[in-house]
């Protein structure tokens, strides 16, 4: 009887704890949604606003009570973030700039790991391996805020591919380097350069292999043969988490002790394979469902990572004066090494691939746009389970947070100005004016049509309806003349409009095919073939657009 009462008390306590956690998650979701609305008005990067709000939670300790272990952050939140990013980075675009992307990602991360590590080890009171772990985790760049700016300012897509591609690979490489540094710090481990390189190749290569195999299976078997949006979307979710788990627990699955591969690299590889080969094998309906699903999931996960991390860094408990010098050293070293990575490796790339050189303005944006975010913070939190002392872990955690905060608040908020000064958003104003005029024409035509309907139904006198329609026609003709003059002044807009309209038309064709499959007007097989053909045309259009942009960015006077 007593044990029954005890069990029911325990269950009640667990249920209470669960409800508290659930309530906290609901509060975080509400805050994330509210911030998304606010940032649209104040034009601050979404992630910057989330970090600030997350920090503010430290002053309201009872407001949210959420218990996320570092492992849970890494295993639950990071895989979908990376998978979603790779899904939208199609191979043809990435391949065109693979040389600079890999140069910045591999060379930059390795240099960042050891050079930042060395500076921090020399000037801050932390052991060598902790400094190397910091160098690795802080080398992971976060493109979320920068890409949001690129989209709103109409920056060339090539720059987005360079920034996203570098970030994707350096996240993965930074994670492998970080894991190796942390495991080398374990009491029974020794650290040697040869062993580290060997481990790096095994852990990284194994992760890539796992991701490629699982991604290929999903792309060529499931997505190619099943035509059900729900099943296919669920499968992509399973492969995002599955590739991470299989790689991390590879030894456990196959009965080999202590064999772990990089889960992060596995996710990147599977996402690239599914995005490149799998999406082409899906119907238009499935593709739309998949894109919406991953967009929502990425939004949720991003919001959670930044808010939870803001919660974990308890500002009230940090000795700001003691840590200011360490944070200063960390920020200075990160900025210095980032400059070397972007400008020196940029010069090396110019020699390797003169025909695909990266314009100077792009390099300035890549330097100042090297923000740090979710991956760096999640990795820093993993140190809580390492063999470093709590003081060392705290120092690294505060330095990481300081660098992330600096990059988001200082670099993030000045990016827009830099892009404008470099002339990379030159078309935005003209495009906005063009869109305004197009919208006016569209809206006025809608108004005229509504008046026509009211006139026909007898709600308005026919003569009045006709008079109003004529006035509307005059308005439309006036705006059309303005638009025509605007195109003469800015001929480049004509090409941009041509490309945009073609893209919209191809999407409309895709929807029409989906509808014909849904109503049974054409078979699934025919629908699938047409969808593949349309996807190819869209890919070709994107390539043309990207090459035109790249060529326009080169210096004038050459052909």
């Amino acid at each position: 009887m007593h044990s029954l009462a005890a069990a029911s008390t325990l269950l009640a306590a667990e249920a209470g704890n669960f409800l508290e956690q659930e309530l906290s998650i609901v509060v975080l979701l509400a805050v994330a949604a509210a911030m998304a609305i606010v940032v649209q008005r104040i034009k601050v990067p979404y992630t910057v606003a989330l970090v600030v709000v997350g920090l503010a939670f430290a002053f309201f300790p009872n407001f949210v009570d959420i218990d996320f272990s570092p492992d849970l952050i890494l295993g639950l939140l990071i895989p979908p973030l990376l998978f979603e990013a790779t899904l939208h980075l199609p191979w043809p675009k990435l391949r065109a700039d693979l040389v600079p992307v890999l140069l910045f990602a591999i060379g930059g991360t390795m240099l960042g790991t050891f050079a930042v590590g060395w500076i921090v080890w020399s000037l801050v009171d932390v052991p060598w391996l902790a400094a190397v772990a910091f160098g690795a985790l802080i080398s992971a760049t976060d493109p979320v805020a920068v890409i949001a700016f690129f989209k709103s300012l109409g920056v060339t897509k090539r720059l987005s591919v360079l920034v996203e591609g570098e970030s994707l690979f350096n996240d993965a490489i930074a994670f492998v380097a970080f894991t190796l540094a942390v495991s080398a710090a374990a009491p029974d481990e020794s650290f040697g350069v040869g062993k580290a390189i060997g481990d790096f190749i095994i852990v990284g290569g194994g992760g890539l292999a796992v991701g490629i195999v699982l991604g290929w299976f999903v792309a060529q078997v499931v997505l190619a043969r099943v035509d059900d949006a729900l099943i296919e979307t669920t499968t992509t979710l399973a492969v995002a988490y599955g590739s991470f788990l299989v790689a991390e627990e590879f030894g456990l699955i196959f009965g080999i002790d202590d064999l772990h591969f990089s889960g992060i690299l596995a996710v990147v590889a599977s996402g690239l394979i599914v995005g490149t080969y799998g999406l082409h094998n899906t119907s238009p309906t499935t593709r739309l469902t998949l894109e919406y699903f991953w967009e929502v999931l990425a939004f949720l996960v991003n919001s959670f990572v930044f808010l939870v991390i803001g919660l974990r860094i308890n500002l009230r408990e940090i000795d700001i004066v003691d840590n200011a010098a360490n944070v200063g050293v960390a920020i200075a070293s990160v900025l210095l090494i980032r400059a070397i990575v972007v400008y020196v490796f940029g010069a090396v790339h110019q020699r390797l691939q003169p025909s695909r050189k990266i314009p100077k303005a792009f390099r300035h944006v890549m330097y100042w746009g090297g923000l740090r975010g979710a991956i760096s913070l999640a990795l820093a939190l993993l140190l809580e389970e390492s063999d470093f002392s709590p003081e060392v872990v705290n120092t690294v955690l505060v330095m990481t947070f300081g660098v992330v905060l600096f990059t988001l608040l200082v670099q993030g908020t000045t990016m827009s100005g830099l892009i404008g000064r470099l002339g990379l958003s030159g078309m935005a104003g003209n495009e906005r004016r063009q869109q305004q005029m197009q919208a006016r024409i569209h809206a006025r035509r809608a108004g005229a049509a509504e008046i026509g309907r009211l006139g026909e139904e007898g709600v308005v006198f026919a003569s009045m309806a006709q008079a109003m329609q004529d006035t509307y026609d005059d308005d439309v003709a006036e705006v059309q003349a303005e638009l025509s003059a605007h195109f003469s002044e800015h001929p480049e807009l004509e090409v941009a409009m041509l490309l945009q309209t073609r893209r919209d038309a191809l999407v409309a064709e895709q929807s029409a095919i989906g509808e014909m499959v849904r109503t049974g007007f054409i078979s699934n097989d025919v629908g699938h073939d047409l969808a593949v053909e349309l996807n190819n045309r869209k890919a070709a259009l994107e390539l043309i657009e990207e090459r035109w942009e790249s060529a326009s960015a080169a210096p004038p006077g050459t052909v």
Binding site: L543, A551, S552, T558, V559
Partner: protein
Amino acid sequence: MAELIYVSWGGTGRGAALRAAYEEAATANLDLAYLAILDPPTFADLDGALLTLVADELEWLLKTHLRTVAEASSSNVECRVVVRIGEVDDEVEAMTRGVDAAVVVIGAPVASGQRDIDELVDALRTRTGIDVHIVDPED
């Protein structure tokens, strides 16, 4: 009828230059052949199948662009679009050999590789044996 061959590659051949070439053809009473070249400096990394897709899509886009220019103009010029894959010099020469080419007009010199524009114009004059010049949208 003899043709004015308007050549574009890389980032050249945007709106203003195409309009100027169209009006030049109208004034000289020539047909207009829009030759778009997918040249190695810009498209070398694409494999055969992808390059064919890009050529098809580019042809569709340029036909539309040419129609837009024609509709905005008061002149009436017979137009066609040809997309070729290869080096600029080789493809211009091959194109002029097969048709009654009166003049070759190059789009505004924006970019593509490292070659000097004047050097290219001279080379094209020698290889085609006809007048070659750069279209100036300001004229």
